[in-house]
Structures are given as C-alpha cells and as structure tokens.
C-alpha cells in the first residue's frame, strides 16, 4: 500500500512547513514590537512640533509657505508607494498597490503627468509585471527606516515641489490605526496641510495662551517648522508602513500555522483510517488462510 507511505510523507512535510510558519510568526511578532516602540518614540517629536504649530497659530500668525501653496492646476505629480521588500505578508502589498493604481488612473484621467517612486521590492516587481514605468526605486527600507534616509527623500521632493517641477505629491502606504486595524490609503502630502490638532480635548483644559518670544521672528520659525513637519510626516508614513507590514506578516503566518495544523489533523485521520483498513485486510487474509488449512 503506497498510499499510506504517501500520506505519511505529506504529513511530515506539512509539519515542517508549520514549524517554519510558526517561527516566522514569532519573528514578525518580535519585529513588530520593535517597530512599534520606534513609532511610539517618534511620537514625542510630532507632538512637540504640533504644539509649536498651535502656539504659532495662537500668536495670530498667518501661515504661508511655498509648501502650503495650493496649485489650481496639477500638471505633473509624483506618487510614492511604500511596499515591503519581502513577501509572505498576506494582502499587505496588494492592498497598497490596488489603492495606488486607483489614484494613478484618476490622476491620469485629469491628464496629469505622473512619476512613480516605489519603495520595496514587492511593489517594484508588481509594477514591472504590469509594465508600468517606474522613475525611482528604494530598497533600503526594512523594518527600521532611518530618519536620515527618509529626510533625504523628503528634501528632494520638497525641492521639486518648490521649484514647480511637481505640483502634487501623493503617498500610498498602509496606515496604522490600531493593532487590529490597518488600511491602505493614498494621502496627498504636497501641497502640505498643517497637522490637524490631534487632541483638542486636552487643549481645551489648558487654554492658557502663552506669549512667546520668537527668535528671530515668527515667520522665520515657520520657515523651519513647515519643512520639518513635512519631513517628520513622511517619516511617520514609513514607520506606519513598517509596523503594518509586520502585523500583516504576523497575521498571515498565524493563519498559515493554524491551517497547517488543520491539514495535519485531516491527514492523520486519513492515514490512521488507511492504516487500520490495511491491518484489517491483513487479518482477514490470515484468517482466510487458516480456515483454508483447517478444511
């Protein structure tokens, strides 16, 4: 009976797969925790920056900056897409790509020229498969994106926007909402909109307006604040994407492990049944043989 051996072999290989997916799940969990800590550590800067922006607004400053300027006609735009370098993370990449493609079609229907920049090997190969031209690629971002590298991209994009080579910058990434919820979104980063007041409730409690002294002037501070907020916003997108990727991989690997367990259970059952029927068959043969001898 080759069938039994076949079943056993399959069961063994699935056991191996389960071991691998289980390990990958554990690795993803550890990486997720690390990425999450980094994202939390970055929050401090964002909060303080938002505080300064609020104080500037309270000081009655008219916010005007080249990066905030809305262009009536979008002639050329850039879209940055954040995908992962590695696969085996469920629908993480395909969701981002789908959202990005939708926005791309929409922008192209407005006859805007669109440059595509992609971070992550998965996105790059997906675009190559669709034979969509890519203008820039980044593969250096893993689960711990460095601010310096992101700032470099941010500086270049800002320069392109200010010098009017691009009129708009979109970013497609997976936003982290909570551990159980992440969604692929396309956001417009440039023209930049000032960060919304994130915790208005806390603010209402301490409505003491502080009269700041601005050195050298409020306008000059604004000149520093706007690019810095943009850089940090872009950095946050990268961090969110990294956290979401690890969560997606964790969930994908968890369900793969569970699925493997299920298959092993079923295979074991079939295997045991086959084994039992084989034994029964053998016993029947022996009994048949003995009875034939007795006659």
């Amino acid at each position: 009976m080759a069938n039994i051996r076949e079943l056993d072999k399959r069961r063994k290989s699935i056991r191996n797969i389960r071991k691998i997916t289980r390990t990958m799940e554990l690795i993803a969990t550890a990486r997720f925790k690390k990425a999450m800590d980094r994202a939390a550590a970055a929050n401090d800067y964002t909060m303080r920056m938002a505080q300064i922006v609020r104080d500037l607004a309270n000081a009655g400053l008219e916010t005007s900056h080249p990066l905030l300027e809305k262009r009536p006609e979008v002639r050329s735009a850039t879209m940055l897409m954040l995908t992962s370098n590695r696969g085996l993370c469920g629908g993480y990449n395909s969701a981002v790509i789908r959202a990005a493609m939708q926005r791309r079609d929409q922008l192209r229907s407005q006859s805007a020229e669109l440059d595509l920049e992609i971070s992550g090997k998965r996105g790059i190969s997906a675009m190559k498969f669709r034979s969509i031209p890519i203008d820039r690629t980044y593969t250096q971002f893993e689960d711990e994106p460095a601010f310096e590298e992101v700032a470099e991209i941010a500086d270049r994009l800002m320069e392109e926007f200010i010098s009017r080579r691009i009129d708009r910058l979109d970013i497609a990434y997976t936003r982290f909402i909570s551990i159980s919820k992440q969604e692929a979104v396309v956001e417009t980063l440039l023209p930049f909109s000032q960060p919304e007041e994130e915790q208005p409730h806390q603010d209402e409690q301490k409505q003491l307006v502080v009269n700041y002294e601005f050195l050298p002037s409020a306008e000059s501070i604004l000149e520093e604040v706007v690019p810095a907020s943009f850089r940090v916003k872009l950095f946050k997108c990268f961090l969110d994407a990294a956290v979401s990727e690890q969560i997606a991989r964790m969930i994908a690997m968890k369900s793969a492990t569970e699925n493997a367990g299920e298959i092993i259970k079923q295979l074991s059952m079939t295997y045991n049944r086959a084994r039992q029927s084989k034994i029964t068959g053998e016993i029947m043969e022996i009994i048949g043989g003995v009875e034939a001898l007795n006659k």
Binding site: D44, Y45, S163, Y212, F214, P216, V225
Partner: protein, 130 residues
C-alpha cells in the same frame, strides 16, 4: 522651586531628558544661555553645541538645526540629529567640509543647500578643534 528640565528629541526618539542648572543652545545667530525662570520662547537653531550644565559637570552635544521651545521651565530642543561632541573628530569635520565644497551650486536651491552644508561643516570644525 521648580527645576529646569531639558528635553532633546529627534524624529526617531527622545535622546535626552534630564534636569539641568543651565543650558546653552546654539541659535541660528549665536549662543543663548537659558536659566530657570526664563520667559516663554521659540527659537530657531543653527548648527552648533548644546551645553547642559548640571551642578559642576557639563555635557555638550553637537546638534544640527531645528527649534527650541522654552515654556514653564521646560526646554524642548527639536533637532534632526544629536551627537556627543567627543564623537566628532577633526578628520570627520574636514571630510564634511570637503564634501560640502564639492556640492554643485547652479540653481538657487542648490546654492542654499551648499551654504547649509558648509555652515554645518564649519560648526563641526569649530567643535573638533576645541
């Protein structure tokens, strides 16, 4: 009496959070000392040395631009990068200067970037030669 709290944050994490007696920050046009009870202030930073004095020891860091905010005895320094001054060697500074001089300066944006890089390298040289 409340104490002077010094918090230095970069986009990646909170680097320093400690109590200090006096803090010297490098504003874009020169150094400024901050003691307890300073009036609220928002200032633009340049490249230079941040000094934190605590009883009789002083620690200094090289910071690269950003903002400083002073409010109710909390000094928040928001900057892109913080390096202890000991970690900056003369060779590094000279390399930074050489790199900065190599930058192209054809468009106004490029010139601005070059000037910024040179200012940074100069500040590094100043720190390294101390």
């Amino acid at each position: 009496m409340s104490q002077l709290q010094c918090v230095v944050v970069t986009p990646e994490r909170t680097e320093i959070d400690q109590v200090a007696e006096a803090i010297t920050v490098p504003l874009f046009d020169g150094q400024m000392g901050i003691l307890r009870g300073h009036s609220p202030l928002v200032g633009r930073l340049g490249f230079g040395v941040l000094k934190i004095r605590k009883s009789d020891s002083t620690t200094s860091y090289f910071i690269e631009g950003g903002l400083v905010q002073v409010q109710s005895d909390v000094v928040s320094v928001l900057t892109d990068r913080v390096t202890p001054t000991q970690a900056i060697s003369r060779a590094d500074a000279e390399q930074a200067m050489a790199d900065a001089r190599q930058l192209p300066a054809e468009s106004p944006e490029q010139r601005a970037a070059k000037e910024k890089a040179i200012a940074r390298a100069r500040a590094m040289l100043r720190v390294a030669s101390q």
